[in-house]
């Protein structure tokens, strides 16, 4: 989990709330949401799924998107992803 870093609030282009949803929805939902964004735009993901801490940065690395970091919410985490390019096929899903 060396990619994790805490952020200050930042401007986001889209938010998805997947609190209470589990694997594989933390990746499936992100893939779907990123398709609706343009390159350079930022996706905010609200999730309380513990494996998301490891999986989301890992998936970003594999699929070519930039994982910006996290902000702690009340009882969930906010993950920030910058869409960098069209998704690399066969990324973790």
């Amino acid at each position: 989990m060396e990619n994790l870093k805490f952020l200050n609030p930042l401007k986001v282009n889209k938010t998805i709330d997947i609190v209470y949803l589990m694997c594989p929805m933390h990746i499936v939902s992100i893939k779907k949401a990123l398709k609706e964004l343009k390159e350079g735009e930022i996706l905010e993901v609200l999730s309380d799924f513990s494996h998301a801490l490891e999986d989301i940065p890992k998936w970003c690395k594999m699929s070519g998107h930039e994982f910006l970091g996290i902000i702690e919410g009340d009882d969930y985490l906010k993950f920030y992803i910058k869409k960098c390019q069209e998704e690399i096929p066969n990324g973790l899903s």
Binding site: D17, I18, V19, Y20, L21, M22, P24, M25, V28, S29
Partner: protein, 374 residues
């Protein structure tokens, strides 16, 4: 045979059966498979989802398929209660709900939630004012039926919704009897969630579903794979879902015509009120299409049902889940009827296919039953 219990279940429409068949045999593929066959099956599920969404004016991704209306009510009541427990632990419902609403709420009481069970008025209606009076600072959810199959009376969902919007309380409706049988528009009603069941409107058994308004949190009852947007895991009942889509499409196209035919059939059946000692239960007009409920003075439901059965006529004495367990309808008791009256209720429901000959035969046998059983 004369079947007059269509709110318990309805037969498959022929088009539904035809549409389902390929998915029970040659088109057996898993919609989750990462190959062309899986993809094509997944597309069929999405077509069905859009047809159900159209029927109730929802967005496609607001429709989640389940195994039944019962699972849908359980999933929503528990899923919203767990997800929004920080808003409070008080829930309001009514005594005229189906057991798939009452029992999950009772289970929530065991783990710290508080539930208020409202009594309906003498017509079986849960008045909006009753809901408003029961609201507390910690009320987080209200669950009321669109129309009860025991009584038939339709509740004023729009008005209840208006009250709850202003208080920021979630609103679920059990619309199992309503969807596919009467106009249901989730946007117009202003509800947060709704349950439906396919076999009540000409679809197959084993498929139900719920509408969950976009943006709401929900803790799934069943976790697993990504099926149904991760909100109800498990390999889909493809044939059943495809059949449900066709049933929803047929219901939407033919709804007005079906309602007219069903109500005409019930108007004919209302000739029974010319006999002495028969009293309608619930409202006369604002009720589910093709539905009639009445009390027969001096004759127990089970005796009337048995007599009619001997003559190949099939009716009900209320919710099928209830009538096996108890001799009197608890819904009628909650409306203020005596135990004896609640033990003498008959519920009829006609379909758009009920014929004049069937009604004539029913009226004839019913008259004979009264003469014999009294």
């Amino acid at each position: 045979m004369v079947y007059l219990d269509y709110y318990s279940t309805s037969p498959l429409e022929e088009e539904v059966f035809e549409a389902m068949c390929p998915f029970l045999k040659e088109r057996f593929y898993n919609p989750l498979s990462k190959n062309k066959m899986g993809f094509l099956i997944k597309e069929e599920i999405e077509v069905a989802r859009s047809k159900v969404a159209n029927l109730i004016n929802a967005n496609n991704d607001e429709i989640i398929f389940t195994s039944s209306g019962t699972e849908s009510n359980n999933a929503i009541i528990k899923g919203l209660s767990f997800a929004y427990k920080k808003n409070g632990k008080h829930i309001i419902t009514s005594k005229s709900e189906h057991h798939s609403v009452l029992n999950p709420l009772r289970s929530l009481e065991r783990i710290g939630f508080y539930v208020t069970f409202l009594s309906p008025d003498t017509y079986g209606e849960i008045k909006p004012s009753y809901v408003e009076s029961a609201l507390r600072d910690d009320t987080m959810l209200v669950s009321i039926n669109f129309g009860s199959v025991d009584v038939g009376t339709i509740n004023n969902i729009k008005e209840i919704s208006k009250i709850l919007r202003s208080k920021d309380v979630l609103f679920h409706i059990d619309a199992v009897a309503a969807v596919g049988n009467i106009h249901v528009d989730v946007k117009e009603l202003g509800v947060d969630s709704l349950s439906f069941s396919s076999h009540i409107f000409g679809g197959p058994k084993g498929v139900g579903g719920f509408y969950l308004k976009d943006g709401l949190r929900f803790m799934p009852l069943i976790y697993g794979g990504p099926q149904e947007f991760g909100k109800r895991a498990g390999t889909e009942n493809v044939a059943g879902i495809v059949g449900t889509g066709v049933a929803a499409e047929l219901a939407m196209i033919n709804l007005d015509n079906r309602i007219k035919k069903r109500n005409k059939a019930i108007d004919e059946i209302k000739n029974i009120f010319s006999f002495d000692g028969i009293e309608i239960v619930g409202k006369d007009l604002e009720r589910l299409p093709g539905h009639l409920s009445f009390i027969i003075d001096g004759i127990k439901s089970e005796s009337m049902i048995a007599y009619l059965e001997e003559n190949d006529i099939y009716v009900s004495s209320g919710s099928p889940c209830v009538s096996y367990a108890l001799k009197a309808s608890p819904v009628l008791v909650s409306m203020g009827y005596s135990f004896e009256q609640a033990s003498s209720v008959i519920t009829l429901s006609a379909s758009h296919k009920t014929t004049e000959d069937e009604i004539e035969y029913f009226l004839d046998i019913f008259g004979k039953a009264l003469a014999k059983l009294r």
